[in-house]
Symmetry: C2
Subunit: 350 residues, 2 copies
């Protein structure tokens, strides 16, 4: 009988953050593709677009006018999924099938730059530092609202990720409850901490640094790696080396290093298929419920959909929706490819 | 303070099948859309396409020739994510971060019809009955393989769902382990059964029939409803009225009723936006591990991505990937819309 070879044989890997598995099919990466191709708009965008509702000085859908902002600019989402209003509600504890509860929250949009065409990889490090300061302020301000227990900072980049405007921006949805994925993570981090007295992601990071098989970028304060249990072809996670739970714990040096890390990672992504690389990214950090949460470790997820080229993405569909996430290329292979990519943006090289 | 109105206020709903929540934002359904539009190929397809690798008589990627099949036709997937080979493996019980295990399985493709352009809503009921017979045979044959404990029958329809060929077909991935989503469902069904001595979905169905707010189709043996906790805009679930766990438990009458149900539901879907409606669908039923599984109830999920028109889909991206699934239109509203659609296919009406 053949011995198990993780680089070749179909297998499942376990994600201890959410207690779920992923099916890995390394041999399948040579599958030909006859399906849908994504549209890539390689047209150079202007620095200012008079029709863009995020550009400085322009009018938004609700009639408000954006200021002539020069750094990151934050405003309340005009079509928020959450509302701030308090709603009277009495829970019916006997309910099994029709359990619902009102949810209060605040959603904001964070414009990363006044320039319509300037995405993270092409921004100066100082401008990215400014975004980090903005995230810190928002995490603090929103977290201080009495009914807000969780602040989700995220970015959808690229039309393939449902982003309706190429102007560089992210979002923040802050709310009363821990969202499902965060609650799962919280539970697993907590169980690990209670058992070992150390944090899951700190211990994991140490092992990853020792193995050095899935590390993409390492600097003094952060590591970018492809998690052992990654589901998206080029999924990565940024983990802080020092143990702390939230973005407001950053030292000045950590702010600079994180800005550099973001710039380097997104540059590698753009270089991978020589395209403005689409992804959804987001920060997972301590809830803002007033508890200490020593089990938390600051980290950021990048979930990019592209599989093989600027136009061919991985579809998480039938089997994945009904069964479990599935990937072809192994995380080790993806990490190697990302690691070996130039740190210099392809548009700016000769 | 305003009283909670489930039709208007942002809220979360609980899915007891997988123990997860969904964020519902009813007020957000009027959000304008400036993002990516899907491409709809409304070109009439030919009944036979010489370049299609699924049409009868044509050559597949691996050189095999399809027979001149007249009914549903099954073959092994030429680019299977799973392999049948047995792999020697010793589990390292101390592993927390790098848990992996080989996975054995079989994947098959089921062509629904020899006709390249004939999808479920336009098929005669007898042809759909034939597909059901095929699913029964595959569930039995694959389930009888000693190492197979789960048989996942599913369909990806439409290029937006990663389907690489419009020829009507589904897939079956059968494997040793219970996939993540099925394992979650299994655990919740089991806990409910142990506590109440009845099945969760039977009890849920009774309540839904009483309330009659989310029912789309009802006949003697099956009910189509939009689950209270649905995440996709027009998600539905087909549940058998009688309590049984698997497709091989169908009576002759149930086979006919299920074929009719599939035809009616997919016709409504096509009529909704007058397009060949994309979705991923799949059957959840008893594992084939040799146990009795009285907690299981045969059901089928439909996860369609379209939100507002044939070209505007719902994106499950940043917040959804990092936080939790989010929907705008309420399940009640979706059910009402689907219920009121004609049973007659739009292409065949005057
Ligand atoms: O097997 P297909 O149709 O080529 O592929 C499609 O369905 C599979 C099962 O859901 C997915 O893993 C693929 O990403 C998708 O493109
Ligand atoms: O808020 P946006 O950018 O208009 O919308 C996008 O991101 C949201 C948060 O992930 C999703 O709910 C939407 O489906 C998506 O289109």
């Amino acid at each position: 009988m053949k011995n198990f070879d993780i680089n070749e044989d179909p297998h499942r890997r376990y994600n201890p953050l959410i207690n779920e598995w992923v099916l890995v099919s390394p041999h399948r990466s040579k599958r030909p593709w006859q399906g849908q191709n994504e549209i890539v708009t390689s047209d150079a965008l202007p620095e200012y677009d008079p029709t863009c509702y995020l550009c400085p000085g322009n009018v938004r859908a609700n009639g408000e006018v954006n200021p002539a902002y020069e750094n990151a600019f934050v405003f309340e989402n005009d079509f928020a999924a959450l509302k701030q209003e308090e709603i009277a509600f009495e829970e019916d504890k006997n309910q099994t099938f029709f359990k619902a509860q009102p949810e209060r929250g605040i959603s904001r949009v964070v414009c990363f730059s006044p320039k319509h065409n300037l995405t993270l990889p092409e921004m100066p490090v100082a401008a990215i530092e400014n975004i980090i300061h903005t995230w810190q302020k928002e995490y603090t301000d929103l977290g201080n609202v009495d009914y807000i227990n969780h602040v989700q900072i995220f970015e959808n980049k690229g039309s393939v990720m449902g982003c309706s405007n190429p102007h560089p921006h992210g979002q923040i949805w802050a709310q009363s409850s821990l969202p499902t994925e965060v609650e799962k993570t919280q539970n697993n981090l907590k169980a690990y901490f209670d058992k070992h007295g150390s944090t899951l992601l700190q211990d994991y990071l140490k092992e990853e640094l020792k193995l050095n098989e899935r590390i993409v970028i390492e600097n003094d304060h952060f590591v970018v790696l492809v998690p052992f249990w990654a589901i998206w072809p080029y999924e990565t996670m940024i983990i802080s080396k020092r143990h702390f739970g939230k973005i407001t714990d950053f030292t000045e040096e950590e702010i600079t290093d994180f800005a550099l890390t973001l710039k380097q990672l997104t540059t590698k992504y753009d270089n991978l298929f020589e395209t403005s690389f689409p992804y959804s990214s987001g920060i997972h950090q301590s809830p803002t419920d007033g508890e200490l949460h020593p089990e938390w470790q600051f980290h950021m997820h990048f979930y990019p959909p592209l599989l093989r080229s600027a136009t061919v993405k991985k579809f998480m569909v039938g089997y994945e929706m009904l069964g479990e996430s599935q990937r072809d290329i192994t995380p080790e292979k993806s990490a190697e490819i990302l690691k070996n990519l130039l740190g210099f943006h392809y548009k700016h090289s000769l």
